[in-house]
């Protein structure tokens, strides 16, 4: 399975609001930690090693 980069989340605005609400009131360090936990949970859910490698590459490319 290849990395899906097509829109795949129903109610994108609702999701985005929920994501930011989870960070509401956290310190920067706590936010970083929350993001790390969330990433690991989602990575485990995906499970497919090749997809995770592709996702890492896509995210790293954005860091320019």
């Amino acid at each position: 399975m290849a990395l899906n980069t097509a829109p795949n989340i129903p109610d994108p605005d609702g999701f985005y609001a929920e994501l930011l609400n989870a960070h509401d009131g956290l310190s920067d360090d706590d936010s970083i930690a929350l993001n790390a936990r969330l990433l690991l949970i989602l990575a485990n859910h995906i499970g497919d090693r090749a997809v995770l490698t592709e996702a890492l590459a896509a995210a790293s490319k954005g860091d320019t």
Binding site: T5, I9, D13, Y16, H23, L26, K61
Partner: protein
């Protein structure tokens, strides 16, 4: 307090004239008084006046204030004004646009096309300066008056005090000729976000303050920008934290700059400072003239309830949103559309006062939807914490290459009318496999007929619409006479009103919202749905 103008007029439309009420020995009673001569107040007067209901509108100025202000008018607003008989001049004057571009820094992130669905009389949006919108409404009031509509617009009539009683309201009014007093069976407050009426009644108006300032500059220029909506996040030209460029009629461009919270208003509004920001954005060689500048802040808030006995609030007086998504004036016009027929039925005795509670319920539901959408846009455009800023920019970075991130980019979710899902006037959906977009509570989508459009035939009164099913020409129910309308089940009408169903019968409210639908005509179901739709059930 002297009766001085608080702002300059773009058009003087209802100069002060002495009313016979001012010479009456006792306060004259009117069925409906509207406070506020902005777009919502004038539309309210027009809706009621066209029904033959005498209405007096009071405004403390003599016309429309300067400044483009609301500039994006949505399809639903145009459909409603079409019903009032002034949609066409709006469309003729307005600028139609479909393409939007989103930039971050110096890169285009993506572009979107509104891709308006075909088969509608009106486009998804037009851009039109608010003073024109208001003038076309007042022009329509004048032609309606000439045809006998009992509307009175009273300029330079400022309401200074109200006494709200159980079955009427007493109003104390200032004029250039001194004070006078009138009474109203019903008072409609359309006096804007800072509503003096709301304050006089001591009513709440709570919500979120967004700590940001936006500079608006309307300019005319010869430069050849296309008719598109351009939005910059963190623009490379550094004129603001975000910027917007949008075309209006008369060769005018709306430019918005996000300035931040801690600014010196007077300093920022100085022409040299406005020009410094514009020059950075447009480049040194573009000649332009400043038409209007303003700095605004906003809040997202609403009243707890829009009805207080005999006083009803509409538009910004009842609810205020951020400008992102064009949900202010557009939602106010939907308030008017919702209120007009209900008040009409209460005044002529067909429905009881409790029908007006459904105005409160339905339009609060609409206001909450608008506040939610415009708050989310604002949170995206003006991130208020480091982490929300990080996420926002991550979305923008990814959106350039990955389609999945584009639906997350939020520079304003453009106004669409809400569906009154699950609210009391609806009869539960009885059309198996009917399209979701025309479920009970939804506004009727337009569709072409052999001659004209479907919406030309809906609205103003209750209609029983047969799609591929014959319905009687008239049906009497609960003191109402329904108009029957049978249309063939073909083309866009089939797609929008039948889906997989072979035929359907729709009960359509006077505001063109669906009240009920069935697969066939049933003489016992229709009156029950009518009773429910007018609050008798």
């Amino acid at each position: 307090m002297p009766l001085d103008d608080r702002y300059q007029l773009a058009f003087k439309l209802y100069p002060y004239e002495r009313s016979t009420d001012q010479d009456a020995s006792a306060p004259v009673r009117h069925p409906v008084v509207v406070v506020g001569g902005g777009p919502i107040g004038v539309a309210t007067a027009l809706d009621l006046g066209l029904q033959g209901i005498p209405v007096v509108l009071l405004d403390d100025h003599e016309g429309v204030g300067q400044g483009s202000r609301a500039i994006c008018f949505a399809k639903r607003t145009l459909e409603i004004t079409h019903r009032y008989g002034c949609g066409q001049p709006m469309l003729d004057k307005g600028v139609i646009w479909n393409l939007g571009k989103v930039f971050h820094d110096d890169r285009q992130v993506f572009e979107f096309n509104l891709l308006p669905e075909q088969g509608h009389r009106y486009p998804a949006f037009i851009n039109l300066q608010q003073p024109y919108f208001e003038r076309f409404l007042v022009d329509r009031v004048r032609t309606a008056q000439a045809q006998g509509a009992p509307i009175e617009l009273r300029g330079k009539n400022r309401v200074d005090a109200v006494d709200v009683l159980d079955d009427h309201v007493i109003l104390d009014i200032s004029t250039p000729d001194g004070p006078y007093r009138i009474e109203a069976d019903w008072l409609i407050g359309c006096d804007g976000a800072s509503s003096p009426l709301r304050k006089m009644m001591g009513l709440d108006f709570e919500g979120r303050v967004f700590e940001d300032n936006f500079l608006i500059a309307d300019i005319t220029m010869k430069a050849d920008f296309p008719t598109e909506r351009w939005f910059w996040f963190e623009p490379h030209f550094k004129s603001g934290d975000s910027a917007l460029l949008h075309k209006q009629p008369d060769g005018v461009w709306r430019i918005d700059f996000q300035l931040g919270w801690d600014i010196d208003r007077t300093e920022e509004l100085k022409e040299e400072n406005v020009r410094r920001r514009l020059d950075a954005m447009l480049g040194p060689d573009v000649e332009y003239e400043l038409v209007w500048t303003s700095i605004y802040r906003f809040q997202c808030r609403r009243m707890k309830t829009f009805r207080q006995g005999r006083v009803i609030f509409a538009g910004d007086a009842a609810h205020q949103v951020s400008p992102f998504g064009a949900r202010g004036a557009n939602s106010g016009i939907q308030d008017v559309d919702n209120l007009g027929w209900k008040l009409g039925l209460v005044l002529n005795g067909t429905a009881s006062e409790s029908l007006l509670d459904s105005y409160d319920v339905e339009r609060r539901y609409g206001a909450d939807e608008n506040i939610l959408n415009s708050s989310r846009s604002t949170d995206f455009i003006t991130p208020k914490s480091k982490i929300s800023h990080v996420f926002r920019n991550a979305v923008l970075d990814l959106a350039e290459h990955h389609p999945f991130a584009r639906p997350l980019v939020n520079s304003g979710r453009l106004s669409v009318p809400c569906v009154y899902d699950g609210l009391p006037l609806n009869t539960p959906d009885a059309l198996p496999n009917g399209p979701a977009r025309t479920r009970p509570g939804a506004p009727c989508p337009d569709a072409p007929l052999e001659q004209g459009f479907l919406l030309d035939h809906l609205g103003g009164d209750f209609v029983l619409l047969g799609v591929g099913v014959d319905v009687p020409d008239t049906i009497s129910a609960h003191g109402l006479v329904l108009r029957g309308l049978t249309v063939p089940a073909s083309g866009d009408i089939r797609d929008r009103y039948l889906g997989e169903a072979p035929g359907a019968v729709y009960l359509i409210r006077p505001d063109q919202h669906v009240a009920a639908r069935w697969p066939a005509f049933d003489a016992t179901s229709v009156p029950k749905a009518v009773a429910r739709a007018i609050g008798k059930d």
